[in-house]
Point group: C2
Chain length 422, copies 2
């Protein structure tokens, strides 16, 4: 079994930090603290005396293959953005394009410290293929959007899910009804029933815009949260992206259900959807995780930005003591892993799957070292991340990812071709 010994690394905790050796054996953290010579025999030794070891980021909501649309349309209202730019561009994407788009997205994730993402998009086989290839983790959503799909495609989704209940090492599937405005009540109920019986997690958009709330009220006479409850979808296996507009009644129903709110503050602000009610969610003891949304609306996949922005918004909403650094870090890491059922990952603990970041303590943003976690959450950016380990393997080392030059070149050429064909 391959072993890696992270030697003399600084390990953060809520109440300080300590220098430890970390032994990774296979894909798990085997020992943290003092590692005996016997245990580490044959290990590759990595000098970590200038690094802190932080949990890697887990991105609870994105559309990875939209990386090719980064910057294609900005600074305009949602409907114009979707109808005149995003959808016409997307209509031209082939399976091959999706592979290139995923490579670019995963490169971006890795370089900013993310090792897991929950996806909602098309061409799931292509996405899964590139996840396997690039060594990260994903909960790949099998997307339902009745308004955009044929009946055959819908049935194909259920068949695909039923055939793939056995999860692979790093990839799981999720049932992903897009939203209450693209999937009807009957189909929402069918998705919910299917997920319950077949033991899938569910990933959807929820209460993102005021328009969604108004339309739902008109069509169903209730809020999106209450509609999901009516269909049986509102439970502890639901990861609901956005959750910008919750009434007090919504909040209570949501929290009681045990569902996770996956907030995407950058996207919500940039598209002028609203500021997610982070203070109210926290005060109500909701489960809260973070996501980036897609590159076309954010315009990056950097979970560190979401983490800092979530902390800042929580404070301006609820006071400077809201969402302290350590809790913001958990929101950007382990909380999203849990939302999709990854139980033994997201923290640096013996026996857990070995995902982590080596963060450079000599980077000027990490100095001085009064408070390691505070520096990481409030002061750092992606330039502080030296290396990324996922499932016991380096996916970035010394800020280099294998094949990154080719990925960038091919993605650029593909996007140019698609844009010029519009």
């Amino acid at each position: 079994m391959k072993k890696i010994l992270l030697k003399s690394a600084l390990l953060p905790a809520q109440d300080g930090a300590r220098v430890v050796d970390i032994l990774i054996a296979g894909n798990r953290f085997a020992r943290i603290g003092i590692v005996s010579p016997e245990e580490s025999a044959g290990a590759e030794v990595v000098d970590c005396s200038r690094f802190a070891v932080f949990p890697a980021f887990y991105n609870g909501h994105t559309h990875a293959a939209m990386s090719l649309l980064r910057g294609y349309a900005d600074d305009m209202p949602l409907q114009k953005w979707l109808q005149e730019y995003i959808w016409p561009f997307e209509a031209k994407l082939t399976g091959g394009d999706i592979e290139l788009a995923c490579r670019l997205a995963f490169l971006e994730m890795i370089k900013s410290g993310t090792v897991f993402f929950a996806d909602m998009y098309w061409h799931r086989e292509r996405t899964i293929k590139i996840v396997e290839e690039m060594g990260i983790r994903a909960a790949v959503g099998v997307t339902f959007a009745e308004s955009l799909m044929t009946a055959e495609q819908i049935e194909g989704n259920f068949k695909f899910l039923a055939a793939h209940t056995g999860e692979s090492d790093r990839v799981s599937l999720a049932v992903a009804p897009h939203s209450v405005y693209t999937v009807g009540e009957k189909m929402l109920k069918r998705c919910a029933d299917f997920a319950r019986v077949e033991n899938f997690f569910v990933h959807t958009h929820l209460s993102e815009t005021v328009k969604e709330l108004e339309d739902c009220e008109k069509q169903y006479g209730c809020s999106p949260v209450r509609l999901l409850e009516r269909t049986g979808m509102l439970d502890s296996k639901l990861a609901a992206a956005h959750c910008v507009h919750f009434s007090d009644d919504d909040m209570k129903a949501f929290v009681d259900s045990g569902a996770t709110a996956v907030l995407n503050p950058c996207s919500n602000l940039k598209l002028a959807s609203g500021i997610p009610p982070i203070d109210r969610l926290l005060n109500a003891k909701a489960k809260v995780a973070l996501g980036t949304d897609g590159d076309s609306s954010n315009n990056n996949l950097d979970m560190h930005e979401e983490m800092k922005l979530a902390a800042l918004l929580a404070k301006v909403q609820g006071g400077a003591e809201m969402l302290p650094a350590y809790d913001a870090l958990k929101m950007a890491t382990v909380n999203a892993a849990r939302a999709y059922g990854l139980a033994d990952v997201g923290e640096i603990r013996e026996g857990y799957l070995a995902d982590c970041l080596l963060v450079d303590l000599k980077n000027e943003r990490m100095v001085p070292s009064h408070n390691l976690v505070s520096n990481w959450v409030y002061a750092a950016d992606s330039s502080c991340i030296d290396s990324v380990i996922c499932n016991g393997k380096f996916v970035m080392r010394g800020r280099h990812v294998d094949g990154e030059e080719e990925i960038v070149r091919d993605a650029e050429a593909c996007a140019k071709r698609l844009a010029s064909a519009t």
Copy 2:
């Protein structure tokens, strides 16, 4: 005269981008577009075919030497933060400590693309010395805070300013009355009169917190903006940091005066002071620039973060079309330069002082290249900056700054010593 030829660089504009050669002669941009062999004779040629050339950042409000307090106290209310942590720590800072603190701050600025900052702090001679040493620009505020200074110190300030009206190449001074709550009306008036007669720009804090407004109303029967107006300080040579709480009346008086609002959104959110009214300022056609505030409240000096956050907040306040990328870029660059009277700097233009960034177009965040400015503002972070030029000289090259290892080491040791002596 030393010449640098930036060969085949992509130069962004509001309506696209073009490939140009840029000749720097001495400390100015001498030619942009096609450079003749005669003009560029003897120049150092830098291949910029993988770079875009962007204006460098100009930081309109900071307290540079507070870098040693990064992470020293977070996630607590303002008064506790100041009285129990910040002030006791600051009381121990010697001139030598300030030099180390400035080196760390300027390193951080350079690595995130900032070449100018407007400072408000103590030990101005030390700050000026390190600015000269590290090759960047500053408007160093000579700080007035009656509640913290002796009469001799106040008079010393005026003498220091009077003796330094001749500005050096990269350093200017500003009259910096701290705020309406630390400087009385009479002294505010004296500062305003002095600045007018001696031709200085004025740098102050304004309308940062609700408490400041309430106290000002109680003491003076008016808002801080109206108090500044009464003292003659509210004019086009005033750079007012924060401006979080403006009534409609304040807004009108402020805009009519031609003063510049220097917003610090990260700091305002993190300290729960409020969200600066960016949409209202823009709709009222106020002059708006950006600053980072100090490392102890932000917790970094990264103007890119302020730029993106300002754009996001403007949109969620006023709609997705507010503050498009190109305008956000100007807010983070040329606008702060203008606020402190730097007339021929802040844009990549022939005849202007040669400050700029080389941004890596092969960085995954800058791909695909549908919109260069959008990618830079919304998707990039400091890791995309390859090199920084200030006043015609490289202050960072290939992400390396001369002496950075020593700066980090010495700042860390100094901060540790100060913290343990508390």
